[in-house]
Every structure is written in C-alpha cells, then in structure tokens.
Symmetry: C2
Subunit: 206 residues, 2 copies
DNA sequence: AATGACCTACCGAATAGTTGGTAAAATCAA
DNA sequence: TTGATTTTACCAACTATTCGGTAGGTCATT
C-alpha cells in the first residue's frame, strides 16, 4: 500500500507521466498515420485526437518528421523484442524459423500500426533517418536469411536461393496487414498455422 | 470512300496523338508518384516533368485525384492483358498458376510504376473510386484462389486453405517491388525461377 | 519564483485549381 | 484554293486553402 503510494507519487513526478504521454502520442499518431498515410495526416489531426491544440502538441514533439521517426523506432523495438530476441534464444534453426513466422505474423495481425508504417512511410523521413531504419530492416532480413542458410547446411531446406526465399517469406508475412481482418472467418492463430504449413512444405525438405 | 478514309486517318492521327500525350502523362505521373508518393508529388512536379505549366497540364487532366485513378486503371489494364488474359487461355491449372507467377512477377520486376501505385496509393482516391479498384483487385485474387482450388480438386495441392495460400502467394509476388533491384545479382528470369521453385515445392504436392 | 503544460494568434510556404488570355492548327465556306 | 471561323494547346498570374511551425502568453503546481 505504502509502496504503491510512493510509486504513484514518483509516477506523478515527471518522467513516467511524461513517457506515458509520449507513448500515448506515439500510439495515437501511429493509428492515424496508419489509417490515412503520413502526408495526409496533419499535426493538427494528431493534436485533435490527443485533445490538444497543435501548439500544445508541439510542447512534446520536435517536428512531424521526428515524430514519424520515433514511431518507426518504436516499431523496430517491438520487432526486436517480440521477434528477433526470441528467435536468437532458439538454437534449432527449424524452430527458429517457425518462431519468426509466428511472432511476426501475430504482431501484424493484432494490428500493430507502427509496424505497418515502418513499411509504408519511409518516404516521410530524412535520408539519414531512412538509412538508419533501413539498416535495422536489413539486420532483420539477415536473421531470416541466415536461418534459411543454416537449414540448408543441415540439408533441411529445398534448393532455394536463401536470399530470394527470405524476401519471399517476409513478403508473405508483411502482406498480412493488407488482407487479414480480425472480423473475418479465420483467427490469427489459424492463419499462422496456414503460413507454417506453407513454410514447412514449401521451404523445408520433406 | 476515299474521303472517308482520309478523314478517318486524320481523326486517328489526331486522337492518337492525343492519347499518346495522355499515355505519356500517365507514364510520367506514375514514375513520379511511385518515386515520391502521391501526396508528395505536386501537380506542378508532373507538369514540370512534362515540360508544361500547371495550367497547361490541366488542359489534359481534370484533377489530381482523377489522374491517380486513371493511372491505377491503366495498371489494372496491364494486369488484365498481361496476366489474367493469358491465364484464362490456359486450361491446365498447374501451368496457369505458373503463368500468373511468371507474368505478374516480370511486370513488377521490370519496373511498372503504375502497378506499385496500385498497391500503395489507394488512400488518395475517393471512396467510390477505391471501391471500384478494390473490386478489380478482388477479381484478380479470385482468379488465383480458384486456380488453387482447382489444383486442390485435382489433388495436386497440399492441404492449404486456398484463400490464405492465394493471399500469401500474391504477397510474395507484390513484395518483389520492395526488394528486387535490376542492378542486383539476379536477373528477373532467375528470380521468377526461384519463385516457381517455391510455388512448386511449397504449394504443390510432390 | 520557477517550471511544466498548455493555448491564442499568427506566419511563410506550398498547393490544387481557376481565369482570362494568345498563337497556331484544324475545319469549313465560297 | 483561300479566307473566315472554330478548336486545340498551351501560359502567366491569381485565388483560396491548408499545413508545419513559432511567438508570446496564461495558469496551476512545486
């Protein structure tokens, strides 16, 4: 009880409350940008959705472009924590591949708007920012490709060019955001199972 | 008779020149929009690229939005002529599937900017226009799905949900525009072969 | 008194689209 | 064929609006 009070008090004192608000801003911005596109979303739109004026919102952010950059970095953190980290901890290449498909697929189907923005709104960034994000994307792509290469070494992969196969696999996963609807017939778990079937029989030697 | 022929010829020359110019406008617009995005491409940008003033360009188009719509319809015509028509003429489901992957893949890798726009810039359209384009996209998707269903009936398809498989396949193909570079190591034909390998071993029973 | 969390009111730049023209080409009448 | 008329293919200049961003203020909390 006392502990809680202290925690609450501390929360009030600045940084946590601040970062709560920042998180909320990122979330609201991501939702809007994901729905309407970066250029079509004005700073005022975001401010309105936050029940702030534009100038009020500018108290928290330092420009529209940097806000987009932050949202994208948030998406990359999610990707790192929920997909790459678990994959790194899995020594078996086959299970690692399945983990990647499952975790990345679920993130997208559960509607992570930052993740969608990460793919669609690169043009809104500075060239420097683009390069930084691109570097992270390539690192992710490398994880997938290396896993496929490892499978090939174990003779568990069909005779594919691992690079093309990795891109194709990622394309398949990312495209989920364009067609999967939560109101539809299939649950996200069911779709993951279907994807895994394709991966198992398509990429992996039988 | 001769007079009519001459008139027709002249009419043809006139309207052909016109539609040549229109085609050129669509092409230039598509290239710019594909490179920078719809919102970030101003009508003046397109006019400049056409060596016209904005007012001069407006002589040919009736608004930015309708121009985008026309470009997208142009992409759909390409899809119809170069992918769907050839597929319709192929009775064998297996070969039909291969034709789709090959033809659609090649269009994208050879840099059809209208095709990329078709996927990325739906938000720039009226709702009515969006619905019209979406209808065509769904028709294409249905062709792929029905082909997969047919293969399943012939017992040549692994036990997939044809709907999910169709989406995944299309996602794989469309993603080509995001990673394939003509300056890279692989030729478009080579990539097509890789995709077909994935399709053959992944979607089709061995 | 100082700081954080806002707001009102504004600015400069850019943009989609229009108006009112001109010069040349195409069409038509004699 | 020629002269008159209409149409085509443009352009310079302008309007109205929107947008990203800022200056300078208020007010409550600390």
């Amino acid at each position: 009880m006392i502990a809680k009070k202290i925690k609450d008090a501390k929360a009030t004192v600045g940084s946590e409350r601040m970062s709560n608000k920042m998180a909320q801003i990122y979330d609201v911005a991501a939702t809007l940008i994901c729905a309407k596109g970066y250029d079509a979303t004005s700073v005022s739109d975001i401010a309105d959705a936050m029940n702030l004026t534009k100038a009020g919102l500018y108290h928290y952010i330092d420009g529209k472009q940097n806000l987009l950059f932050s949202v994208m970095n948030f998406a990359l953190e999610t990707l790192e924590e929920d997909v790459i980290e678990p994959a790194r901890d899995e020594p078996d290449a086959m299970r690692r591949l399945e983990l990647i498909v499952r975790n990345h697929g679920l993130i997208i189907m559960r509607g992570s708007s930052p993740m969608t923005i990460l793919m669609d709104e690169m043009g809104g960034l500075t060239e420097t920012q683009q390069e930084e994000i691109q570097k992270c994307k390539l690192a992710y792509y490398a994880v997938v490709r290396d896993t496929l290469k490892e499978l090939k070494k174990e003779d568990k992969l069909n005779d594919f060019n691992p690079s093309t196969a990795a891109h194709s696999l990622i394309g398949m996963i990312l495209y989920l955001s364009r067609w999967y609807r939560r109101e539809g017939k299939m649950s996200d778990e069911q779709v993951v199972e279907e994807l895994l079937k394709i991966v198992r029989s398509g990429f992996v030697k039988v």
